[in-house]
Symmetry: C2
Subunit: 893 residues, 2 copies
């Protein structure tokens, strides 16, 4: 028996998406729900796959079944395909499981030829309409099925329009349309070397084959690669009886949403055009009317449509995006699908629907894309103002949308100026060729950051995301001249002090100011409700990465339950501390070094006190010094240049001597691969007194705030452990310090020692390491670098983004956790660590902690919490809830 | 019941080493074999451990058992401990499972006091002898048990010796010895604030406690840390009846080996001193006689000793190192143990003993330390000449023994000079602050390499080992001034052209020439025999890493069964090719680049042809380009310096423009962490035409030599794969090239494509990767770097060697494969790879391939072969055989 390749709409339902595609399943569902759907049928995705397996031949029986279905449609409509008397016309549309812009769209009016054309004219009593339909068909068939450049058809059309008074297509006369049809056919023949097919069955056969073919079209393949859609899904083909919205003022066509997709308000929202076909809405030739006006224009149709909309929303239990056509006062539903919506709308609709009893809380949680809600938490441009700026030609360039949010401010080209101006109350955008730890003090005071070089995990991007500040990185179109304090882009010059606007959400850069809307989390009541439900179901804790009290406070407002990563080195870069740090590194004796450390101690203590107060009652993980020490000194190249210059000019012997000394130190510390060099716990082990000072500062601070009544839980994290002995040695040394400080203060505080798992070897030997750690925290940034052997500082611009573009990598592993590689190490680590230490807390503090897919993975492998930048805390709360709804927690591997 | 803490010699045997220590077990074994051993007993290692557990108290019953054993010894000897009439004197010695120089040695003559002294004098009829024994006892007890500075005793002794005519200790009169005893006792009291103990039992108790204590002495702990001896073994204490070799001309003491430990000749080998105690031999005061002379001096004793020696060798089935004493014509055996020997002797003895039927071939294979046989294959200094050089004060400094072998030659301070002189026939030592790929052409022509900086896996070390050339690296005591072409060390200056000698085996550097002995593998018949046996039992193949035909030929002579790693980038650095490579990198158009590639093609093809001819019949794995492209350009710092200088002086605008252009390119390619940057297959993917050219060269070369009748098996290795798609893409591209070349040539060659496993992620996803690879080869250098997060270029000097020194790491993971971390990844990889592709060849080509412990691990996890530098091939053959004898192959994990 031959396979069933073709389904009448009455034979399908919404569950059959895989076989019938999204569109086919929707049309079937509506048909069976008794809604007015033009009769039609769907050729399955399996037929598409067979088509390719058979060397682009229709599978056995498919064409026969198609003809059979066509007979059924003829019966339902009383029309006949190819019949000059009462011709059945159809539209042919592709329809994969998910909507895919890369594929063939619709061919309308198929079935027309010189004979049926006459029938249509006679039946409608409108010859002009018939010829217009015919020229549209030829145009679409030529363009979509045969790939003829659409410009060529447009040019012919324009010629004729020029001859009319109104110069619009509605001004074309019937005679003109006849000539156009002739010209189009000639064009078709010229382009393809064959006549335009008159046989409706031939038209249908070619259109179906073209839909199948479009599955492997370049754009479709690229789209699937980009969106990770498997290539073996195939597309279905929908053949639908034509209904005409352009048969007069009692006809029309439109699209509508069951709720407002921008705000989520419960109201029918959409637009329609009278006397028009669907493509006219898209083409934007006439301005469509609001859907509400349909009530005046055709009250009965409107009433029916409102009912259909309500029914569909109830039926699908989600906001629907519908296409419809009115043919001579009769409503036809052409499509329904779940509607896309803004973040605000998504949240409001989900929460409202729970209150309406339409969906459960769990369903509501699954309805909102966690990544999207970021939009609700960041300052954003007024959309109207953006449009104006664009129209006024203020758009300058587009870079990488490295850290979301939008900001306007005066351009500053060095960190010192940015800091100075920022502290003076100006809103500043820091513009740099690229940033370095050196620039952090400026970034702290800037409202946004723009860099010419660097990828999504460049220093600028990482710090900006940490600070929750907008950042456009790797904006290669601009040329930053830091010395001259300006940048140019296509001849346009932006100087220090000029106002610019950047969107870290889109990556766009504008000249001049664009007003922003400042969100207020407290007012996001729907979001707060939704996140409350999320907290009820999630198993993962959500902590935050915060280095400053201000960030910690914000994260708490967003629901953070602890600090998972407080970096201590940023503190070293602050202005009054930096010289002390430099002196410490340059110290020639133990005493000199200890003196510097003694000077740093009160600063560090103060930092921690501030954070502990904000996090009263919650755990705070503080990571001991991590970067290589030479990062605190001037760059080697800069010193070489200065020393060479000073030697050459003989200008300033004192300065020269000083720089030479500095260069000697820098050279002696210089590393070929600093990421894999003397940093992390290695620095703690090799530089006497450094981590002792930090531990003393932490415990002193804890004791001090504890006396103020603050409930304090410091957890000291030793970074970059690769061998258990490193951890053991550091911990033993620092436990001594902690005990000594508590003895001095006469206060006991609840502290822990743990380690970051960021070196593959640490994950692999987690059983040994767990014997000496009270907690683990995955540093997935470094773990990803080492597991892939990819330096993120170097790779993104040089090959990584290119890899993702070419589909070589499914995604950027610095954004989405690589489950197969890095994730495998994490699973090994969790298994081995818990084997030795079943109750230990294991979390993640790499940037992946705020990425929904990565959060899901953390849930699956049974971590205790994720820690992410403050603005990502709500995302993580929702993502964690979704993970809990979808997957078992801590699934055994 | 109390535990048995004390064993009489008659109660033990050689199997009880763990309980009785090596010495105790040996004495027991000899006693039970009926050999003349002075009666005595052993206090167990368990007693030692209990002693520490009890807060340094003897465990219950131990002292009582000691006294009981002493009674038994009294019975056997007819003497009594502390009896003035017929005093029993004993020696007390430590004795752990293995010989440990860090621990307490021997206290002789214990039991002497003013009373027993008289008895001894009376019994021996020799008052002088008795007082001499007493002063020795006080001296040893004070020094060894109580830790008094030995110099202080020596000073007193010297004062008296000065008063005699001969100024030797034998010239001291009885009266003098009496005064010395008094002075010694006074010194003892002054130093310790207590009287020297007269009670023999107190002496014994303190000596035993001192032996126990010495187990945790600093030197012993350091020694154990260094040699990876567990701290929980403890030491035994041996209490042995004193016999005296210094009771006249019919007495004596000596040490002897059953075979010559330097050559392996089967002859009694050793020396003895008449009328002396053991310590006199050590002190070197008198020149000892050859053991053969004992035959004249005491024929009966000699005859007896020869028999004992034969018996012991047969009994232990290995060459023995024996200590003996003759007391008034009676032979006493004091110790026997397996004797240390040179590499040559080890090999000869093992082979001879098989021929003698004493041991099996398998035992012979286990008798030779694989690491040792390197000595037999490398040019080495004449030992006498080294002694002379040392005496003449020619020793200059000691660095890291980075690549074994020894060489003399004229110092050259840059690669060009080294190359020029080398080609002109001079023997050259290349001296550099450190080396870079830039220097390889000089290293190729140099006889040896000396660097001021860099560790055991620095560039210099790695390349030198690959080339089998001696290298002393990281010799920080010398200051190399490359510009002035000289180095200084403690004020001594070595200029270009001066002759120096370096030992890569010991790390020593000498001024002037030291003549070397050149080994000839063909003449090492014993080694060849042994390695033949090794080949019969080993499961691992042994391949070699060789980039040049010359190296490949040598490796074949040493038994290599294939090339596991032929690096192609060294070829790019050769003089005539370098400019083409630079032009290729600087090319601004595709055409320019392709032109350069076309020029490189014939060079590469020739290289491969040469290697294929040498490896006729064996597989050759060729790794495609691996290092980052910028390594072929001048260093960034150098360019910055030059550009700054040229800008400053305005000297040479043309030169400036050129350098500026070069700097721009270098800057654009510059990477923060080049090891994790755009290299390996990433370069193949991003630089169009590069790996295509290399593949073309390989297959063209294979076709060409195949036409000459050479049996050629090229295997193309794609490096640095982290994701399967990289391999898939490169392989598909290069398979096309291979097929095209074969079609052009009309010849089929047997080629394979495989990948290096050197990135953790590749190991973790080996199942996916195995689908696209025909072989795997572990690049354990990079795999270790990434698994540990340690850059070898940076780490060794900065912290890694320090880590090993401090016992933080058990060994340098770049020398000995880290089984727990890196090895775990390898096991995962082998498991997953073989699951998909059960018959695939998996080998190792990292430097670990020549390290015996690492070879053993490769056997355990079931690799197919190890590949190492040519000179390590024999080591690997033996190590592989030992692994096969000790461990199951490919043990399931």
């Amino acid at each position: 028996m031959t396979k069933k390749w073709v389904y009448l709409f009455s034979e399908g339902n919404k569950e059959m998406k895989n076989l019938l595609g999204g569109k086919g399943a929707g049309l079937a569902e509506m048909t069976n729900a008794g809604l007015p759907v033009p009769p039609g049928f769907t050729i399955t995705t399996e037929a598409c796959l067979s088509f390719f397996e058979n060397g682009k031949q229709f599978p056995e029986g498919m064409w026969e079944q198609t003809l059979e279905a066509l007979r059924a449609v003829e019966q339902q409509t009383g029309k006949k395909f190819g019949d000059p008397q009462n011709p059945l016309l159809v539209s042919v549309r592709s329809g994969a499981r998910v909507s895919m812009p890369g594929m063939m769209d619709t061919v309308l009016n198929l079935g027309l030829n010189p004979e049926t054309l006459k029938g249509l004219a006679r039946l409608t009593g409108n010859e002009r309409f018939a010829y217009d339909a015919y020229r549209r068909f030829i145009q679409m068939f030529g363009r979509i099925v045969k790939g003829i450049d659409p410009e060529k058809f447009e040019r012919i059309l324009d010629e004729y329009k020029e001859k009319t008074e109104g110069k619009k297509d509605t001004d074309l006369t019937t005679e003109m349309l006849k000539d156009i049809v002739a010209d189009f056919k000639e064009l078709y023949k010229r382009e393809l070397g064959e006549e335009f097919p008159d046989d409706p069955y031939e038209q249908l056969r070619q259109a179906i084959a073209a839909v199948f073919d479009s599955w492997y079209g370049k754009r479709a393949v690229d789209y699937r690669n980009f969106h990770k859609i498997p290539h073996d899904w195939g597309t279905a083909v929908n053949v639908v009886t034509m209904v005409f919205g352009n048969m007069g003022e009692d006809s029309g066509t439109g699209v509508a949403f069951t709720r407002n997709p921008a705000t989520g308000e419960k109201e029918l929202y959409g637009e329609y055009l009278q006397n028009a076909q669907g493509e006219d809405v898209v083409a934007g030739i006439r301005t469509p009317k609001k859907i509400a006006e349909l009530e005046q224009d055709m009250p009965e149709v409107y009433e029916q449509f409102v009912k259909v909309a309500e029914m569909l929303e109830k039926h699908y239990r989600d906001m629907q995006d519908m296409e419809f056509t009115v043919e001579r006062g009769k409503l036809w539903m052409l499509q329904t699908r779940t509607g896309k919506r803004t973040a605000a709308a998504a949240v409001k609709i989900a929460v409202d629907m729970v209150h309406e009893g339409l969906i459960t809380k769990e369903e509501a949680l699954l309805r909102v894309d966690p990544a999207q809600i970021n939009q609700l938490l960041l300052p954003r441009f007024d959309p109207k103002a953006v449009e104006e700026a664009r129209r006024a030609g203020h758009f300058l360039a587009k870079g990488l949308n490295a850290s979301p949010g939008e900001a306007s401010g005066v351009a500053a080209f060095d960190a010192d100026t940015a800091e100075e101006w920022g502290l003076a109350g100006k809103t500043v955008i820091l513009v740099r060729p690229e940033t370095a730890p050196d620039d952090v003090h400026g970034m702290l005071q800037a409202k946004g950051i723009l860099t010419q070089r660097g990828g999504a995990t460049s220093h600028a991007a990482v710090v900006a995301r940490g600070l929750g500040k907008p950042c456009v990185a790797g904006c290669e179109a601009i040329h930053v001249d830091a010395e001259k304090k300006m940048f140019t882009v296509d001849g346009y010059v932006v100087k220090e002090g000029d106002v610019i606007s950047i969107s870290g959400t889109t990556g766009e850069v504008f000249a001049g100011a664009i007003p922003t809307i400042d969100p207020d989390f407290k007012k996001e009541t729907n979001l707060i409700t939704l996140l409350g439900w999320a907290d009820e179901v999630r198993r993962l804790g959500v902590w935050t990465n915060a280095d400053y009290p201000k960030d910690a406070a914000r994260a708490r407002e967003f629901g953070a339950e602890g600090i998972g990563l407080c970096r201590t080195e940023h503190m070293f870069f602050e202005e009054e501390r930096r010289p002390i740090v430099v002196n410490m590194i340059m110290a020639e004796t133990e005493e000199e070094r200890q003196e510097c450390l003694d000077k740093l101690l009160p600063f560090q203590r103060e930092d921690f006190e501030g954070i502990f107060r904000v996090m009263d009652g919650l755990p705070v993980i503080i990571r001991l010094i991590d970067p290589p020490m030479h990062e605190f000194l001037p760059p080697r190249e800069e010193l070489i240049e200065e020393v060479t210059r000073l030697r050459c000019t003989g200008e300033d012997p004192e300065e020269l001597a000083e720089k030479e000394k500095m260069l000697r130190v820098v050279e002696s510390m210089w590393e070929v691969n600093p990421m894999l060099g003397l940093r992390g716990c290695r620095a703690g082990i090799m530089y006497k007194g450094l981590t002792e000072m930090q531990t003393r500062a932490i415990i002193e601070a804890a004791c001090n705030v504890s006396q103020e009544g603050v409930d304090v839980h410091p957890e000291i994290m030793i970074p970059l452990v690769s061998h258990v002995n490193e951890l053991k040695l550091e911990r033993e040394k620092l436990e001594e310090v902690a005990k000594q400080v508590m003895a001095e203060k006469g206060i006991e505080v609840d502290y822990k020692f743990g380690t970051m798992i960021e070196v593959p070897r640490a994950a692999l030997t987690a059983d040994e390491i767990a014997r000496h750690a009270q907690f683990f925290s995955f540093g997935t940034n470094d773990l990803t670098q080492m597991t892939y052997g990819i330096s993120r500082d170097d790779a993104e611009g040089k090959f990584l983004l290119d890899y993702v573009d070419r589909g070589l990598l499914p995604f950027n592993p610095f954004q989405v956790l690589d489950r197969d590689g890095v994730g495998q190490l994490m699973k090994i680590c969790v298994g081995k660590g818990r084997q030795v230490n079943p109750n230990m807390d294991i979390g993640i503090c790499g940037e992946h902690g705020g990425d929904p897919s990565s959060v899901e993975f953390c849930h699956i492998i049974g971590l205790n919490y994720v820690s992410c930048s403050p603005f990502r805390v709500p995302i993580a709360r929702l993502a964690a809830a979704q993970a809990a709804l979808r997957h078992e927690y801590g699934r055994k591997q």
